[in-house]
């Protein structure tokens, strides 16, 4: 087990180097990046140096005159020593901007995660235990519809109904315009109010796949021989389902749910952008479209680490939860 984990971590580190190198090379070789835009602006000021001179100066200043491999090694050295650089777009250290925004993303992701688990797992079990019934059909159709629903369309529908139609929530943002005048309790309520629609969107988007996953795994377990044995023993149906079937269904469920936990830190890029929630997702979207290399590199590296961590966690959890599985 220990050697397995060590080997996996070793491979993950190598993969991480490759991934960061690819992303770095990509960011560096893009035309018309942040620096070009800035040089263009600066050169248009009255009495300014020509564009080429500004470009050369800015490239030297930001370390973009180095060839990509050397630039990558420099970046890597900085990154490993904890120097993440300053964000070009936000004019603050990358780590400051990140710590400012990660909290709200995590809270939103966590809420959506809890809600979707609470709703999806029981419904998935219901569908599996009543296979081919009307409720099964409805749940399956809803699950597939949830997977098929484009985030932006659902979010816009929510906005139309609840913001424009009913006026319950604001269209965008995390705080109302009178936020500063409210007391602490009112401010908390205001933020909760603004988070309702994004969290609902995230929940609905996530619910479908989890529901289907639960149902498929539950069905697999229900067809197993030991369930038939339990039934022939004359156990009551609820005992068969909740004691024998559900516990075994929990194995893949816990694995998948546990594996998705690190993902809570990565923020919801599309949903946050749609609702202009100042979380990591929206911030990184702005940074990416502006060509802000330090922030984008930091964020994408962070995401890559999170992804690798999730995979590792899934595999380890699988072995921990199910003693039958032996990792080789």
């Amino acid at each position: 087990m220990r050697t397995y984990i060590a080997k996996r971590i070793g491979i993950s580190v190598i993969i991480l180097f490759c991934v960061t190198f690819i992303i770095y090379g990509l960011m560096r070789s893009l035309p018309a990046s942040y620096v070009e835009t800035m040089a263009m602006q600066l050169s248009q000021a009255p009495g300014a140096k020509p564009y080429e001179e500004w470009l050369a100066q800015l490239n030297a200043q930001y370390g973009l005159d180095l060839p990509v491999p050397i630039g990558y090694v420099t970046w890597l050295g900085d990154f490993l020593t904890g120097n993440f650089g300053d964000s070009w777009k936000f004019n603050v250290p990358v780590i400051t901007e990140f710590t400012n925004t990660i909290g709200i993303s995590f809270v939103m992701g966590g809420l959506a995660f809890v809600f979707s688990t609470i709703i999806a797992v029981p419904l998935g079990i219901l569908a599996a235990t009543h296979q081919y019934s009307k409720s099964d059909y409805i749940i399956s159709a809803v699950a597939l519809a949830g997977i098929s629903l484009p985030t932006f369309f659902f979010a816009t529908l929510l906005k139309l109904v609840f913001s424009v139609g009913l006026g319950w929530f604001d269209l965008y943002g995390l705080m109302g315009r009178d936020y500063a005048q409210l007391d602490a309790f009112g401010q908390a309520l205001d933020i909760v109010n603004h988070m309702v629609m994004p969290v609902v969107t995230l929940t609905v988007i996530q619910i479908g796949s989890l529901m289907r996953y639960t149902r498929t795994n539950m069905l697999e377990v229900l067809n197993a021989d030991y369930i038939r044995t339990a039934r022939t023993k004359g156990l009551p149906e609820h005992k068969v389902i909740y004691k024998h079937a559900f516990r075994n269904t929990l194995i893949p469920l816990v694995t998948v749910i546990g594996g998705s936990l690190p993902g809570l830190f990565s923020g919801a890029l599309i949903t946050e952008t749609l609702f202009m929630i100042p979380g990591t997702g929206y911030t990184s979207y702005q940074a990416m479209t502006a060509g802000d290399i330090p922030y984008t590199m930091f964020f994408l590296t962070f995401i890559a680490i999170i992804t690798l961590l999730s995979n590792l966690l899934t595999d380890i959890l699988y072995a921990v939860v199910d003693p039958r599985v032996r990792i080789s």
Binding site: I11, I14, I15, L16, C18, V19, I22, I23, L26, M27, L30, P31, A32, S33, Q131, Y132, Y137, S140, A141, L144, A145, I147, S148, L149, P150, T151, F152, F153, T156, L157, K159, L160, V164, L171, T216, L219, E220, N223, L269, I270, T273, S284, Y285, M288, T289, G291, T296, F299, L300, I303, A304, T307, L308, N311
Partner: protein, 558 residues
């Protein structure tokens, strides 16, 4: 593939009595394909999905042919637009005009003002003595050193466009005459009349007396003056004409300035506008010399003390955001294009992009996964590490970065669409490679592969003829499901403005109109149908994929 337990549904023939009990013909045997089809069509959701897909394809591919409009055909409509025509300012304070070369600065003007209000006949400033005279009720002249250096009046002398500025003496003479005439209440020339509805109606085409006659008439009424040795006549509205009847200057407390330097305001229109301002009429209907009718409305802006004259014209504009009608069943979009047609072509783009992307991904995936699974060893290891790297690459951020880079490069929309397909396809092959590899790894160990090896079939033949067909079911299911997700990805990108660009329509960029909150609130017909199409198409692919999976693999229980 074919599981004997589920694969032999002992369907009873209607005419089973004809056969003996142990006759084989009593058992209806279905081919594997027919079995799959039968299982597929028994699944209600899958059938619904298939119907949706067929409908979507007909809508997108046949609809575009049936629709009478093109995808970027714009429609126009006539709209009444108010354009600023002229502004009329009434001078309420005295304006000072100095003679050429004379110095009559603001400080002297202030002194002059107070002298006038005190009723003094002269004042002194900087050692210069100015004598004030009042030749007309609204005209003061200032004489210094024997010559008139300036005058003050609320009348303003202006010239028709293209004429030289009148001389100082002419100005004084004209203002004197007109101010005197106005004070006397003279109504020599006939002014346009205000009709019952409060509108001033002027028709330039009407047979009017020729200019010379008009001048003569004014002369007869005694509205004449002489300046610089030439005699001029003037009418009530303050038009000063020379002997030939041509207007050389306008003298009036009102200053009319056209809002556009190229516009020449005709004399009769000017008269009409002034009359309307006098009479508080708010509308002037004017028929110009060519017989075209113009309607001007006058509104007073108390803040800037200007009468604004706006002309109401019928303009041909793009029919933006028109409501659904018989002509346009789903109205028109922000560019005046037919929404339903855009929706059809958008579906075409979305579906084609989905298919090409999945085709690229499946091609790459099958080749890489096939090589990896069949050969194993270091090749397998290498390819799987590459797959791992691709899995770890955050695809959405990368697509967004590339999309904004393509924005910056200002790529042609068509080239951009091709790049988009290549990028999406290249980023999604690893999952298919993994699937194919897994299948081939297990198939490789089975007896039929041993048989192919024993019979000496070549390696490419073994892979293509014996392994790939066995991977097909999983491949088809996976491709159908990823078609749905690819369409969503493309739509999301287009929604963010980083995918398919105008003039091409795609369901995503049609919905992106809602970034304008006004469109979202007021024009549901722009984005709701596109969203429903998108949802239905993806739902159709997922239903069919799901149904296919169950049909291919009966052990999975749907």
């Amino acid at each position: 593939m074919s599981d004997s337990k589920n694969g032999t549904p002992a369907e009873k023939n209607d005419d089973q009595q004809q056969y003996s009990l142990n006759d084989d013909r009593r058992v209806k045997v279905l081919s594997p394909g027919a079995l799959i089809a039968k299982r597929f069509f028994r699944n209600r959701l899958a059938v619904v999905g298939l119907v949706i897909l067929v409908a979507m394809f007909l809508f997108s591919f046949v609809g575009g042919l049936v629709s009478p409009y093109g995808q970027d055909q714009t429609f126009s409509t006539l709209t009444k637009l108010n354009t600023q025509y002229a502004g009329i300012t009434e001078t309420t304070t005295r304006r000072y005009t100095a003679a050429e070369g004379a110095d009559f600065g603001a400080l002297v003007q202030a002194k002059a003002n107070s002298a006038i209000s005190e009723g003094a006949t002269s004042f002194e400033r900087d050692g210069v003595v100015y004598t004030i005279e009042q030749p007309a009720p609204d005209l003061y002249t200032f004489t210094s050193g024997g010559s008139v250096v300036a005058y003050a009046s609320s009348y303003v002398v202006s010239v028709p466009a293209g004429m030289t500025a009148p001389s100082f003496d002419f100005q004084i003479a004209a203002i004197t005459a007109i101010s005197n005439a106005a004070a006397a209440g003279d109504t020599a020339a006939d002014a346009p009349e205000v009709d019952e509805s409060g509108a001033v109606v002027v028709d330039s085409t009407e047979e009017t007396e020729d200019a010379a006659a008009e001048a003569a008439e004014a002369e007869a009424a005694g509205n004449t003056f002489e300046a610089d040795g030439v005699s001029y006549t003037f009418d009530e509205a303050g038009n000063v004409m020379d002997a030939s009847g041509e207007t050389v200057a306008m003298v009036s407390p009102f200053v009319i300035s056209a809002s556009d330097g190229n516009t020449v305001i005709p004399d009769d229109l000017r008269e009409a506008l002034l009359t309307a301002v006098d009479a508080d009429a708010s509308e002037v209907v004017y028929t110009d010399a060519d017989g075209a009718e113009h309607t001007y409305s006058i509104s007073y802006d108390a803040y800037s003390k200007v009468y604004n004259v706006t002309e109401t014209t019928e303009n041909l504009v793009y029919d933006r955001y028109a409501s659904p009608s018989l002509e346009h069943w789903l109205g028109t979009d922000g560019n005046g294009m037919d929404m339903l047609t855009r929706l059809m072509y958008g579906g075409r783009v979305s579906l084609i992009i989905g298919f090409i992307v999945v085709f690229i991904a499946a091609g790459l995936g099958v080749i890489m996964g096939g090589i990896s699974g069949y050969f194993g060893g270091w090749v397998d290891n290498l390819i799987m590490r590459i797959v791992d790297i691709f899995y770890c690459l955050p695809s959405m951020p990368i697509i967004i970065i590339l999309g904004s880079a393509m924005d910056a490069m200002r790529l042609d929309p068509w080239i951009r669409m091709i790049y988009l397909m290549l990028i999406l396809g290249f980023l999604s092959w690893p999952s298919i490679a993994r699937l194919v590899r897994g299948q081939i790894l297990s198939l490789r160990e089975q007896e039929f592969m041993l048989a192919t090896e024993a019979t000496g079939i070549s390696v490419p033949h073994r892979i293509i003829r014996h392994l790939i067909p066995n991977v097909m079911p999983q491949l088809i299911v996976s491709c159908t499901m990823s078609l749905g997700s690819t369409i969503i990805t493309e739509a999301t990108l287009s929604f963010l403005g980083l995918g398919v660009k105008f003039p091409f329509a795609s369901w995503g960029n049609i919905i992106s109109d809602v970034n304008n909150a006004f469109v979202m609130t007021n024009y549901w017909f722009i984005w709701i149908p596109a969203g429903i199409c998108l949802l239905l198409a993806v739902l159709g692919f997922n239903f069919v994929g799901d149904g296919l999976r169950d049909a291919f693999d009966p052990k999975m229980n749907r």
